[in-house]
Symmetry: C2
Subunit: 362 residues, 2 copies
């Protein structure tokens, strides 16, 4: 028979525990919904958020971002606005956001934290600013936690113990969380994730939703207006598997961080090789702190635009994507630490040295 | 890692063989795309078909139909037009379709064959009319084969042997097939199906698609403009499972019909009990032939509207859905043969007799 459209009970329960244990937030299992990957969680959220108010027609992205998120909005015909976080860290974020929210056009916003591609990690101070303004201007915050707990400068991996993965959920009720299983649990192939909607947002009525959907509460519009028509739910067996993984980390019998921290270790060694050969880290700081070592990092080379650098590095057998495609205003490239093995890093360093030799910095 | 977005090679290959073996159509494996159930196949098709031409804004449904298909279009903001097949069987279908297509507003049409809820099976004569007019007016035909091979009056289950499951693909190049695994293979829980696009349609360029998508060929718009942003593909393991099921039926080592023909047997016994107690079959004929016994049938009772009948029968512990919700102009109810066991049919007959006794027909 068909999978339960809003999720099997044990997955909903363990997802709720997971959110309590690792984010220190209370979200009822009722509002923890399995999706066909976070991709469907995001698509569903865009579909519903864009129709909560006939007076609002635009979503805001914090750049740089995962380009497919913007593409999902293009496909749906939703207006997108964005700005690059680089120049608006800390208290500067307040004025920037306020100037955009004050137009009255923004129904929702999305950022990923840690950020793909820049690996910027928003601080609690910044999340507080986002949360306060989201409440003030009634904007729904979609927090993409694709790289859950992977700011390895801190250890967020012990259930029920501080420190917790930072979240805007501490500072507003107007939020939904995208919790992917792809990276933290290395479970991309089975397409299962959790969309967790704040309890208050979940039950809120938005009469304008009735233009396109049969339900006017946010949760029911997501379930019956998005998840059901989009795909009739997600794989039953993957739901059981994710429930078991959540249970293991909730019970403390499995520490997911142990299996992903290698990305951070490789990032450190890779960055050393880049820096030793004249490259710079493009997104280099979280306020006063050096950026974390994690799944991605960004780099540039003096005198090169990002796209020129992508092309030129291909000649040295090094491929990556330009930050330009991610909406960044900075000239640089994204490196992904999962695509290279430890053994290959020495070869990478050799090629970087060759590149450096061929392109002396003036 | 993530599943291959357009499907694993063995699934694409076996799906192509399946279509050759059981529909006698040639569709390249390249154009056989796994989806998160036929629900995603339909949603993706609606999303793309509605944007192939800026001059066309409406989809046509043949009623009665699966109500969620219309709802998917409501969610997407696509205009829907429909008519009830009951009064337009055979050659009458031609004028009806032509009058609608001639408006120039129709980009695509969808019907299910066998039909949910009425179990009407369009004949080859009718499919030929649809195909010819689809070509003439450049309308894309979405053929929902959710109940593949389940018109049990014929045996379509032997690979490479006539008779074949009838399909519009014999009569036009403007088609895409929705091949579900939920009913014929009883595999609803894992959410995997095939969207098979005619080779000619797949590679056709529709410049207007570029308004919303990055590709202007139909296939690539489906893959990169729908399947990728909707969910990044469907479960890897379910793709392997479906490939194995297709292979077994292609090789003739498994006959799927043997496992579903019980629905038809139950339908026959159930219908006898209804007819013996004053009920009538609402959609009763395919032209001159009695309707097949299969997954659904429809019934009414003299003097009752469909919705009154649904309510009244609940008092006898019999639940079903009104045909009204399926866009039907006829007064009746849909019965589903999968929701009752053989043992329960005697009890059903008893309740029908009680209903008949309490509601004498004048």
């Amino acid at each position: 028979s068909y999978p339960q459209i809003d999720g099997i009970p044990q997955l909903k329960k363990e997802a709720s525990y997971f959110i309590k244990n690792f984010l220190d937030l209370d979200v009822d299992g009722e509002n923890c919904l399995p999706t066909v990957g976070s991709m469907q969680g995001a698509f569903s959220s865009f579909l519903i958020c864009s129709r909560v108010s006939n007076a609002k027609d635009t979503i805001l992205f914090i750049d740089p971002c995962f380009p497919v998120h913007k593409y999902q909005n293009k496909v749906l015909g939703i207006n997108v606005e964005s700005f690059d976080i680089y120049d608006f860290r800390g208290e500067k974020l307040r004025d920037k956001l306020e100037s955009i929210f004050a137009t009255g056009r923004i129904h929702s916003m999305l950022y990923s934290n840690p950020n793909n591609p820049s690996w910027v990690c928003l601080t609690n101070e910044e999340l507080k600013i986002i949360g306060e303004l989201a409440t003030k201007y009634d904007v729904i915050v979609l927090e993409d936690l694709a790289y859950f707990g992977m700011d390895f400068r801190k250890d967020y991996s012990h259930p029920g113990e501080a420190p917790y993965q930072p979240s805007v959920g501490k500072y507003t009720d107007n939020y939904a969380l995208l919790i992917s299983s792809a990276k933290a649990f290395s479970y991309a192939g089975e397409r299962v994730a959790i969309l967790a909607i704040s309890d208050k947002l979940a039950k809120r009525h938005f009469p304008d939703l009735l233009t396109h959907f049969n339900s006017d509460t946010f949760r029911n519009a997501i379930v019956y207006g998005a998840l059901h028509p989009l795909s009739s739910g997600t794989s039953h067996s993957a739901q059981y598997a994710l429930a078991a993984m959540f249970k293991a980390v909730n019970d403390g019998t499995y520490n997911y961080r142990d299996d992903v921290i290698e990305y951070g270790r490789k990032a450190r060694i890779m960055k050393e090789a880049f820096l030793a050969n004249g490259f710079v880290i493009t997104y280099d700081k979280d306020l006063d702190k050096d950026i974390a070592d994690g799944f991605y990092f960004t780099y540039g080379y003096p005198g090169f635009t990002g796209s020129d650098l992508v092309e030129e590095m291909l000649l040295y057998g090094i491929s990556a994507i330009s930050l330009y495609t991610c909406g960044s205003t900075r000239e640089g490239i994204r490196a992904c630490t999962s695509l290279i093995t430890r053994d290959e890093i020495a070869e990478l360093a050799k090629r970087l040295a060759l590149f450096h030799e061929d392109h002396p910095i003036k």
